[in-house]
Symmetry: C2
Subunit: 341 residues, 2 copies
DNA sequence: CACCATGGCTGAATCGAATCAGCATGATCA
DNA sequence: TGATCATGCTGATTCGATTCAGCCATGGTG
């Protein structure tokens, strides 16, 4: 033992009294195919244990052109104190396949993105996950797709022009779910939506909207209105306050995310309207914030961990990730806000 | 051009009409030392550009035993919709040194931690960052330190028994800052602390407490009380409510984190006490939540991104990371809550 | 008894870069 | 005139695994 250098396959082979070839076959589960005697296999395995042998991945990668590692390139996922659940899900799934994740953040800068992708390619990663903080249309760099060489899966975004494999939340279905919750609460024809998607390529807003209106239409109802505002607390508070000040009289409110829900709660509170009694509220995203509000808001959640792990699973699939867009359902984080007493 | 295989150093050398040795020297900035003619250098660089040559990192790593990659092993950092700023900071710092990050989450399981570290060692990472979601005392696996082979830096935690290099927030100074804010608001002798550290090895609570009491002592004051509760919204709301119901009469409140601040706000609101008018409040962590409260709570922030980047910088330092614990100052995210009208 | 199939193993080449130890060439010096 | 030196470059080896091609027994067949 002692503090010698790490054991190599040659050391293992020597100790087991076989060639490195044989040792390699044994360790790569090709014993059957290569007809290695059981007794020999045992000797090799014993030598491995005794020497605490661990293969050198660099050497292996050089030969096999596989690294058992995946690149996850995101715009702001890791820093978003928010969608990092995607990373966690991806990490767990990768470990299940004995892979590790190389991560990089572009901060939305295409130059950084380009350089990161090159770095990852140099490191011979086996696949790419391109992730977005918000569900949107993205422009995947040509270098990843033009030679169609390395498997790539989009996460929480879809490509603008090509049919690339992607994993996204099923926002339309989520919208339907939200609307049905309010219909069940008896809101009927006085349901409004708070929040309009602020940015050009964003998809969450339009798709949720589509789901909400579709569900209303399906039961012969229509939306009573839209309160446009950016997707943050202050804007939502201001917009809903103005709207209430004009004498509007809501029964059901669909908040496009939990931060908007908080702002809405504040505005309703200012006007002495009680959530869960006077007004039913549902929102989206299912963040911790949703559980902190009083009453807790019923929120249609983004399944971040599942999105992340599904993306990795696609990459690990035999025969490549295909070309489909996979829509994952958005579970309800139930609160007490979606009722009228 | 065409879709040929990737160019190798041999291709570059051939095109430039030199040996691979020479090409290698040129590309590794050893031209001076090896006296390569400027004209030759130009030829090599031209060949590199024309062939779009990129070195194969696996091959290089095999020879040099360096991979230009760092392992970041965390318990829940990536999934905590919270401390992932550490990851982002680390990622940016790593990129600045042309390194990439390999991430892994232990989910608090020592077995997973062990296996992850082995995986990373197999992949010849150049250093380890061991990160914790919450500031605490940790037990660093012996395998990383006993042979003292691979540089390791602790992030947001310190080792229980050995003097390992670490980067942590300066909680004591943060506590002083919080207390002084309330003293400046004129709270004098009626300041209470809300929240007591719930878990065994946690450090944030005790250290913040130490800072708060030290600052009060320094101006001849003492704490008026402690409202014990777990560090979450519901517990804080309940505990502060009970305390107010007993007729207590607060002037200044130090909330141990922003979630406690939210619960405290809710309890104060129930009792028709106004933050920023009747009661001054400061809190810790500086999360987004702090900015959502009305009035916005003054919060002593955890400098997550700086913590992450400092850890990586330590690893990148010539001569190794040393043995010190580096305490990073906690900046104030100012709101309007720390005043009395 | 020649022939071949099978079982069980190994030698040597290979992946792509880094690097040690020299090898020509022409200029400089004694 | 030969020894010395700086200049500018290269051949061969190495890192640690994977893998192609094939070798040597043994025993059964025709």
């Amino acid at each position: 033992m002692s503090t010698r250098r790490k054991a190599t396959l040659a050391d293992v082979a020597a100790r087991a009294g076989v060639s490195t070839t044989t040792a390699s076959y044994v360790l790569n589960a090709r014993s059957q195919q290569m007809r290695i005697a059981t007794e020999t296999q045992d000797r090799v395995h014993r030598a491995v244990a005794e020497l605490a042998y661990r293969p050198n991945r660099s050497a292996r990668s050089l030969r096999t052109r596989k690294t058992a590692s995946l690149a996850v390139i995101s715009d702001f996922v890791a820093s978003g104190h928010f969608a990092s659940g995607m990373l966690a899900g991806a990490s767990v799934a990768a470990r299940a396949h004995d892979h590790v994740l190389l991560i990089g953040e572009t901060q939305g800068d295409p130059d950084i993105e380009h350089r990161l992708i090159e770095e990852m390619l140099d490191r011979q990663v086996d696949g790419f996950v391109l992730a977005s903080l918000v569900h949107r249309v993205a422009d995947v760099p040509r270098m990843l797709t033009d030679q169609a060489t390395i498997p790539t899966v989009l996460l929480n975004c879809v490509d603008r022009s090509r049919p690339l494999p992607a994993v996204v939340p099923d926002e339309v279905e989520g919208g339907r779910l939200a609307a049905r919750l309010l219909l069940d609460a008896g809101c009927a024809d006085s349901i409004v939506v708070v929040g309009q998607d602020p940015t050009a390529d964003a998809l969450a807003g339009p798709l949720r909207w589509e789901g909400v209106t579709a569900a209303l239409a399906a039961s012969g109802r229509r939306l009573a209105g839209l309160i446009p505002c950016d997707w943050n607390v202050g804007e939502a508070h201001a917009a809903v306050s103005r709207w209430l000040a004009e004498g509007a009289h809501p029964r059901g409110m669909v908040c496009m995310n939990d931060r908007i829900a908080l702002g809405t709660y504040q505005a309703l509170d200012d006007h002495r309207l009680r959530v869960g009694r006077d007004v039913a509220v549902v929102s989206f995203d299912g963040t911790e914030l949703a559980t902190w509000l009083r009453p807790q808001v019923s929120s249609v959640a983004l399944p971040f961990a599942e999105l992340g792990s599904a993306a990795v699973e696609l990459l690990m699939r035999e025969g490549g990730p295909g070309h489909e867009v996979h829509r994952l359902s958005m579970p309800l984080v139930a609160g007490e806000s979606a009722q009228l007493e």
